[in-house]
């Protein structure tokens, strides 16, 4: 169970275990009001080694590493660096000991430049005590060359892609001479190509003697890149293994504590009539710039149409335009032949469109409302839920209880605030409301974002169940694996346009990734491609 160095020495020698650990956490416990986030956890990592910290959301992975970085103080336990017991009261102590951390939510000051972000807190100064910008820039260039982390030192961070921002974070740690690098969910926000590049960088770092801890809940990544795997569940370490000794299936079982269906089992699609027809849709974003530049497609009953794309290529505006949350400036949207282009959300719902929004907390639920009220949202005007504008509480309670049971929402009772539920149960509650009203079309945007394997399995099964009952599903997701496993057809969006269309199961993650980042030939626009050919 524990990761004491003796036990570690018995592991295969090729995983860096021949060296003593550089960082050890011994019997760490951390209690938050009402939660024991870490319960007697021990872990260690050695130079030249990649340790994966695997666990569902809420397992306590971030908490453990925040303790190591001094952002949280442990309720009990000991931290040992280079064999010496140390006190880490604040991040500056951790930095001094050579610990660097890239947080799940980046710790970057967006309006500042790359160089300014990297040197912040440890600025080189000249004899006047002023920041020596030339020296700062030179050091940044040196370090990025040394580890192969290309980034423009003078760009403002807000102008960089997420992948680039992550590099800045890694450079920040390296600038502070980190010997231990902790990456908290580093791949959650990256495209497949960026993930690939990140793991190359990590390889480079460990080959130069760094110890790397990667926090994740993605099984395939762990299998591909970890030297050693520590699995956490509900605040405890429940197992330690290596990729050679385990399978994705056995890891999933360790993580969740029961068997999990990882691959969706879906039968062939029984394609029905066109349910949603989007034609030449043009939509402006919040800055009044065109986010959708003429998008056309149709979703049939009995099929899942997946939209793949890097975040910010018009997916949000598309979803909002269909669900009545944003007014299109051109084109049409129709549902079963009825024009709903200019309908607001209320009329769109009445027409038969349900929406699982990407932001559960801000749009999916009213967190302060209890479960009953959240289930009623959107249907509050309908009988029997209300009559003449007065809510029928007992009808609502009955309905809510039935749906909570139906959708397996784990809650003490239906009158707690939605904010008290875990992420997975919140999403089940959203599904209970949106699917419970029996829509013609389900628009699901990032339906499993931030959920763990158990909850993801549930959401996926429900989406497939909708499809199998003949409903149309439009799925927007940044998770390629999700798009690929659920969709019968896949559209790739790039810069406000549909740039590619594939049959489900006939495309690889790499191909999708290429189109998502503006590469690739566009099979949907053969005429233009041939024009270019002849023009050349």
């Amino acid at each position: 169970m524990s990761a004491d160095p003796q036990a570690a020495c018995e592991l295969p020698p090729n995983v860096g275990q021949d060296r003593p650990p550089i960082l050890e956490l011994r019997n760490v416990s951390k209690r938050f009001p009402g939660v024991l986030a870490n319960d007697d956890v021990s872990a260690s990592v050695a130079p030249g080694e990649v340790l994966a910290l695997l666990g569902e959301n809420g397992a306590g992975k971030s908490t453990l590493m925040n303790v190591a970085y001094g952002l949280l103080s442990a309720s009990a336990g000991e931290i040992v660096v280079d064999g010496n017991s140390v006190q880490i009261r604040a991040p500056r102590d951790a930095i001094r000991l050579g610990i660097g951390m890239v947080h799940q939510h980046f710790m970057l000051v967006e309006p500042l430049t790359v160089t300014e972000n990297i040197v912040l807190g440890m600025e080189p100064t000249n004899s006047w005590g002023l920041i020596d910008r030339a020296v700062a820039r030179k050091r940044v260039v040196e370090i990025s060359a040394k580890y192969g982390l290309k980034v423009d030192p003078d760009s403002r961070v807000m102008d960089l892609s997420v992948g680039m921002q992550q590099r800045v974070e890694i450079l920040k740690a390296l600038y502070r001479d980190a010997r231990i690098l902790i990456l908290d969910e580093p791949t959650a926000v990256l495209t497949p190509q960026e993930v690939h590049e990140l793991f190359q960088i990590v390889r480079e770092l460990v080959s130069q003697g760094l110890a790397v801890v990667i926090i994740t809940h993605k099984l395939d990544e762990v299998m591909a890149f970890a030297d050693r795997i520590l699995v956490m569940r509900a605040g405890r370490v429940v197992g330690e293994t290596t990729p050679e000794e385990c399978s994705e299936q056995s890891l999933a079982r360790m993580m969740v504590g029961r068997d999990v269906v990882l691959k969706i089992d879906k039968g062939p699609a029984k394609i029905g009539e066109v349910v949603l027809d989007v034609s030449d849709l043009v939509v402006l974003d919040d800055r009044k710039l065109p986010a959708l530049k003429g998008v056309s497609f149709a979703v049939h009953g009995g099929e899942v149409l997946g939209i793949a794309g890097v975040s910010g290529n018009g997916q949000r505006e598309l979803v909002e335009a269909i669900t009545g949350l944003r007014r299109p400036s051109g084109g049409t949207v129709s549902l079963k032949g009825r024009d709903i282009t200019h309908d607001d959300a209320r009329r769109t719902i009445a027409a038969g469109v349900s929406h699982v929004p990407e932001d559960r907390h801000r749009r999916g639920l009213v967190l302060e409302f209890d479960l009953v009220e959240n289930v009623a949202l959107g249907d509050q005007r309908r009988e029997p839920f209300s009559k003449h504008g007065i809510l029928n509480r007992s009808a609502l309670d009955t309905e809510a209880r039935a749906r909570i049971k139906d959708y397996d929402v784990r809650t003490p009772n239906e009158h707690v605030a939605a904010s008290n539920l875990s992420g997975g149960n919140q999403q089940k509650l959203v599904l209970a409301r949106e699917l419970g009203r029996n829509p013609e079309l389900l628009v699901a945007s990032q339906p499993t974002r931030g959920l763990d394997v158990g909850a993801i399995e549930f959401v996926h099964r429900r989406i497939i169940a909708e499809r199998d009952s003949g409903k149309a599903v439009l799925l927007v997701s940044m998770e390629l694996e999700e798009v690929m496993s659920l969709s019968d057809r896949i559209l790739v969006m790039y810069e406000g346009r549909v740039v590619a269309e594939f049959e489900g199961g006939q495309v690889t993650e790499e191909e999708l990734g290429l189109f998502m980042t503006g590469g690739g030939r566009t099979p949907t626009e053969p005429s233009r491609a041939s024009e270019e050919d002849t023009g050349a």
């Binding site: 604040a90 710790m107 000051v109």
Partner: protein, 318 residues
Amino acid sequence: MFSEVVTPELFASAVRLATPIALAAIGGAVCERSGVVNIAMEGLMLISAFAGVAAALLFGNAWIGVFVAVLASVLFSAIHAWASINLRADQVISGTAINILALGVTGFLMETIFGHPGTTDTVKTIKPLMDLPAGGGGVLGTIWQWVDVVFLSYTPLVYVGMFSAVFLTWAMYRTRWGLRLRALGEHPRAADTVGINVLRGRWVAVLISGFMAGLAGANLTLEQVGSFTENMTNGRGFIALAANIFGRWTPGGAYMASLLFGFADALQLKLQLFSDVIKIPPQFFLMLPYILTVIVLAGVVGRAVAPASVGKPYKEKG
């Protein structure tokens, strides 16, 4: 009428009227860049305006008055810092409380010290820094008159305002302190994770803002009016807040925006004299600076982007 309105005195009066707003707004820019909203500037100016006059009368020296004014304002800004940084109170509520407190305290002390409400006795105001001879006739004389009046005719704190606008802008963008200050207001946790002391940084910024508001109050009573009248700041602290936003949270920008407000004020004073000629009631002109404030705050003048974490209390660790 044009030549009667547009005189060097109009511009000089704009600068003079802008100065208390600018001094406070410059401090406000520093404060908000650190992530703390300071709507207490109105109250801080009022306290210091009163403390300055009281001390100047007591010691018979206007410079001691300036010192005491600044001291009082810094002390009261410490209340704001303590409440909003350490106790993590709502910064708008803390600021409002100080504004109300300032009104009450000055009113109360007025009665206790001077025995009557209204206006205090008068002190001798601080003289202009330079007293240069008037120019002769001719074109050169006219040019000299403009230069003298528009640039060289002011009391010391007016120059302090100009100087601090330049100096603090430079410091904000060129020094380590400035870099860290900007990080605090944008993403305090990022600053914390690289070992910067967030609470201390914000304290310093709030105290600087208190210092500047103190100079603003001192300028108002000890350089301009010579006496204190209840609630004499008359919304200048709030206009300073608007100037800070209009100036995009930079000391230099805040100064320029204050000049605009000062100019509106100077113009309205001048135009009031002509209200008979142009048949517009003087009350209309009185509204000018405030209308300008409303327009600025309503965001007509471009969409200003505030520091991302301004107004949000920061909790160090769990």
